[in-house]
């Protein structure tokens, strides 16, 4: 009996492995679902760049808003920046910046050099907010709807049609938009 167990063990291990591989074939390895998408935006309370004020997502209740995670040390953010400047020109967009693990002076200098698209810049000095949002790498962009739920999360620099694709569909449902239409 023990001899059969010893000799049959390689076969057994191999068959188990084959079963796992067969099951694994049915997955799509490239899909990386957002952990936070469809969940309420985590709340936080952090200082802002401009003044001694603090910023918290609660103050955005009832509005569709966009939070863009950036940093002065991030080269891809430079690539993304012209798109953000253009996005901010649209009056329907409330764009909040989240300076991720960055020195406030460096952030300020960087925004002076490249232009400032943000309504205000929240400072995530120790990266705590980034952990709550599940930030993968900078830049990342989250669209939060009027109910305070993350409707969309984008990893990497945003694309040209960002507003039309991801923000405009949400705008129809805001109380402000409804009031305007009626």
């Amino acid at each position: 009996m023990t001899r059969w167990l010893r000799l049959g063990l390689p076969l057994l291990i191999f068959l188990l492995l084959a079963a796992v591989l067969a099951r694994g074939l049915q997955f799509d390895p490239r899909k990386l679902p957002s952990v936070r998408q469809g969940r309420p935006a985590p709340s936080f309370d952090v200082p802002t760049l401009a003044s001694a004020q603090h910023f918290s997502p609660q103050s955005m209740q009832g509005k569709v808003w966009v939070i863009n995670v950036f940093a002065s040390w991030c080269t891809a953010c430079v690539v993304e920046h012209p798109r953000l400047l253009e996005l901010a020109r649209n009056p329907q967009v409330t764009l909040i910046g989240l300076a991720y693990k960055d020195q406030p002076e460096a952030t300020a200098q960087w925004l002076k050099d490249h232009g400032d698209p943000y309504r205000l810049v929240a400072l995530d000095l120790d990266g705590r907010v980034g952990i709550d949002y599940g930030v993968y790498g900078v830049p990342e962009t989250y669209v939060v709807d009027a109910q305070g739920v993350i409707a969309y999360r984008h990893v990497g620099p945003i694309d040209a049609g960002f507003f039309e694709q991801h923000i405009a569909p949400l705008l129809g449902s805001t109380p402000a938009a409804r009031a305007e239409r009626s």
């Binding site: 076969l11 390895p29 080269t75 430079v78 690539v79």
Partner: protein, 670 residues
Amino acid sequence: MIPELAQLALALALALALVTSGYGLWRIHRRAHTAEALSRSLAGSSVLVFGLVLAAFAALVTSFVRSDFSVLNVAENSNRLLPLPYKIAASWGSHEGSLLLWTLMLAGWTAAVGVLSGRLAAGFRARVLGILLLLQTAFLAFMLGSSNPFNRLLPAAVEGRDLNPLLQDPIMVSHPPLLYMGYVGFAVSFAFAVAALLEGRLDPTWARWSRPWANAAWSFLTVGILLGSWWAYTVLGWGGWWFWDPVENASLLPWLAGTALIHSLAVTDKRDALKSWTVLLAMITFALSLLGTFLVRSGVLTSVHAFAADPKRGILILALLVVVIGFSFALYAARTHRVGLGGAFSWRSRESMLLVNNVLMVAALSAVLLGTLYPLIIEVLTGNKMSVGPPYFDAVFAPLLLPAVWLMAIAPYSQWKSMPLASAGKALLGPLLAALLVTSTTIWQFGKPSLLLVLGLAAAVTLAYATLAQAREQLAKLGRAGAAPLMVRIRQLGFSYWGMVVAHLGIAVFVTGVTLVKTYEIERDLVMAPGQTETLGEWRLTFVGVDTVPGPNYQAGHGVFELTRGSGKTITLIEPEKRRFLASGQVITQAAIEAGFLGDVYVSLGEPINEGNRSVGPAQQAWSVRMYLKPFINWIWWGCVLMAGGGVLTLFDRRYRKLRPSAASAAPAQ
């Protein structure tokens, strides 16, 4: 017309392989009295099959060279602008083409066995060839059934989609063929093991026959992996040479198993011990080669290599894997108890040292296999996505393999059966002192002491010193006995011995390279404007500028830097490129490397900074630049070359050519 003829050739090869292997194995099983004639006709058949597959392969290459876009595979993987060498390499740049290359290699190995195995016992030879031809049948059927490289595209495409730009590299032209030679070569030792089990007879001759084949396959695999690693270093642009990517692991797994196998075969050959273990290793090694093939092609794991992700094909390869390996493991379970374990030995013997080597190799192998498949296992069990990164592999791999390097230093001093420990200890005194000296000098000069540095460098020095000292001692001993000229004495020790010495020195060189690169590499991310100079270590790098240079099928952002060492006057031009390929629009980074014996200076071009800013002219455009100093990285490559060279040296050993069939054919099958 040519593709159709090639299909015909493949179909003929399939029919021939199927019929001859089926008939041959059946006749041998029924103990027909025609084993001699049967083995000869199987050898003929294997050469014929090789000829047919070679013709098909030549036809595919022809279609690529002539840019025949009416062949789907050509249209998808080539382009008129592609330079000729890459057109040829594109033949194996896709799943279908590489499968044909795989089959060609298998047919080549089989034909080689057929031609060179004339001195084997006829029955055994027929079984080995029958098994190899059966394997070919499976692969040919799979190729013709689901991955035909000659499928037509009608109407023909006007222009091809181009070869994946990452593969357009001189190293990449030779990496897949060599790697496949290694993978597939282990099919031979697998066939030997299965044939021995089928005969129910495992004796030292079986192991002796297997050894040169396993050594050859192992050498090819070593060079194949080396080229893959070197390619990653020059093209991927972040200076690394090993990423623990699932597919890199897939090639490392059979290498580790193969390393264990070639040592275990030595024990079985010389001492008739560890028999069932050696058989199992031969099977595991080939199983892992097949697993590697499966992992690359099925898209079951995320990887830079997943160039042919297609679950439907995946399930077919998996079925093939299950049939081939399941059958051989079942055979192992059913037959091995008849074989017995073989000769006994003391724990202070060369056998037990080689066994420890085996255990360490298999432990490392299991750790890598687990790390590679763990994300998949977790996803199957819980549905969660996760990944296992380099920290895991670094943490488990070095502690498992460094002891093997230490053991290797003692190994040549050990003796078969049993030995006195004191003499080995005395012999190691010199090497250990040398290791102490080199390691402490290094730390004193360059700092950064770490456990890895101490153990790695000391192990490498001890190994190199001990191996060379033992070789010198052997020569001296022969000299005292007969005082023959040096060349004769070198010859007397045999190619096997010198192969071992060279390969072990290769390990020492490799470990030195890895340890020093890991400890002393420096990297810096820079932003440089033209005219700016940055200093890293004793090197000064001045950015001249970036211009646009057209390539054959790409536009290159061509960076020019001046590199000077210390306060020296010699200026070396360093020219990294950023190539945008016309057909696909994909951008790849070609790093510029100033290679030296003591290390490389590695420069790669990042992105232009603030490109949209119009106030800055192209002449003042700043770029992000990565600069690395990689001390001793060449030693990693040369270490691998030495290892493979050692493997090749063993092939010339006289022992393998003096195989007498009489001993093997004398014993009845059961």
